[in-house]
Symmetry: C2
DNA sequence: CGCCAATGGCTCGCAGACATACCTTTGGAG
DNA sequence: CTCCAAAGGTATGTCTGCGAGCCATTGGCG
């Protein structure tokens, strides 16, 4: 029996209970900017259906987000649950033992996604979407940068046409961002990042997989080394 | 709000109930050859702990595997649950709509893993492990090839030192294998595969990331095009 | 030969999650 | 001004899964 492979296959079947998982998902969609401040989450009933949990569980999760000032709910038609303008910083802490784990997975998924996206023939709406996200990220302020950045990277993953790859990228980004939240974001980094984004998107739109991969790798290595520098 | 990214983030929080997930994991470990025919699974109590489910649930899952002739259980000390010599073929069917999804994810993860593994400085036991798996795969019969092949690929993922990457590769391989099970495995393919394995492992042991990635990409493209040819 | 440790086999009560139904609030349409 | 659709808020009974404990079986060790 292969001893080490067991660790991967016999890991826990579920990360937490239904409630915790639901909170996690909703927080992800907010932190990654999929639902921006001021915007409305899908209705409780719709979330329950899409997340595959009961409405009770969705409500408990939303109540937790309310208590932590992530969202506010309004009743009545045209009501709903809205993302607050200011959302709390993520709690510090975390085990630093799995930095390698998180960064390795992120690099594999994101460089792979960039390459795969460049290798596909993209439709007009996809090309437009990528340009829009690029533009949004490049004009973002420091405060909203992390969110716009994530939206751009998620758009790249979506451009692969693989839903499970997109989900995996979202997950990996979330883990990486939890670490990145502990280091300062500076204007020079931001400018550098934008230049790299430009290269990545251009390569994808030009259909140059090797170049897209290369550009993404350099982009990620930048933040990765920044992170290691701050934490070690 | 980014509409498409929602699909990834608001997907169901759990793939199935605890029982179904547990059956899935145990079947994976058997089908991927992590626990070979004749070998013993960990005890029910240990599985319950590691999988994070109750022993009752583990037992129900094992009973399902028994009923489908995957395993047999023996009581008493030095008893346990043993994998049968002949395990059933996986049921056909499946949606073919997500072939692209499955193959895209697999390629991204496995080429990334090969590259990452080649980029690390591996310890003696890891190097030995890789050579052993390579040897096992190269001398495998047609019947046991798929299993030995998976073990080799999992060993490569493990060599990245990232547990979550290993888990993701296992998952992706499982999905791809479900598709590959429907096409015949021929001697010439096998010989070709072994040559490619040799290149991959050599590149990893030599610490040549680019070459490892390249070799893995060609290896996977071979089976991918074979699959598309048979199914389209 | 007898003990006993480790395994699978079994049962019962509790807590979490669920489906379902109904209530309350709100603001636009008619 | 009234109505009502759509959203959040609440309550209840059911069922799944869990924890914990005990039983039955087996084979090695003393």
């Amino acid at each position: 029996m292969v001893e080490h492979a067991q660790e991967a296959l016999f890991r826990p079947v579920r990360a937490g209970n239904a409630f915790e998982e639901t909170v996690e998902r909703l927080m992800q969609s907010i932190r990654l900017g999929v639902v921006a401040p001021g915007e409305r989450l899908p209705s409780e009933r719709e979330l329950a259906t899409r997340l595959g949990v009961s409405r009770v569980t969705v409500r408990e999760a939303i109540r937790t987000l309310q208590e932590n000032n992530y969202v506010e709910s309004r009743r009545g038609r045209y009501g709903g649950t809205f993302v607050n303008q200011e959302i709390p910083k993520s709690a510090p802490g975390k085990e630093f033992g799995d930095i390698h784990d998180a960064l390795t997975l992120r690099k594999v998924l994101e460089t792979g996604a960039a390459e795969a996206a460049a290798g596909r023939s993209l439709g007009p709406s996809e090309r437009r979407g990528l340009r829009t996200r690029l533009e949004e990220a490049s004009t973002a302020s420091l405060a909203e940068y992390r969110r716009k950045d994530s939206r751009l990277h998620l758009a790249i993953a979506e451009a692969t046409g693989s839903a499970s790859l997109t989900a995996a990228v979202a997950e990996a980004r979330m883990r990486a961002n939890e670490l990145l939240d502990h280091i300062p974001l500076l204007e020079p980094n931001l400018a550098h990042s934008n230049a790299q984004h430009e290269r990545i998107i251009t390569s994808i739109l030009d259909g140059d997989p090797a170049s897209a991969r290369q550009a993404m790798a350099e982009h990620l290595d930048g933040t990765a080394s920044l992170l290691r520098g701050f934490l070690v």
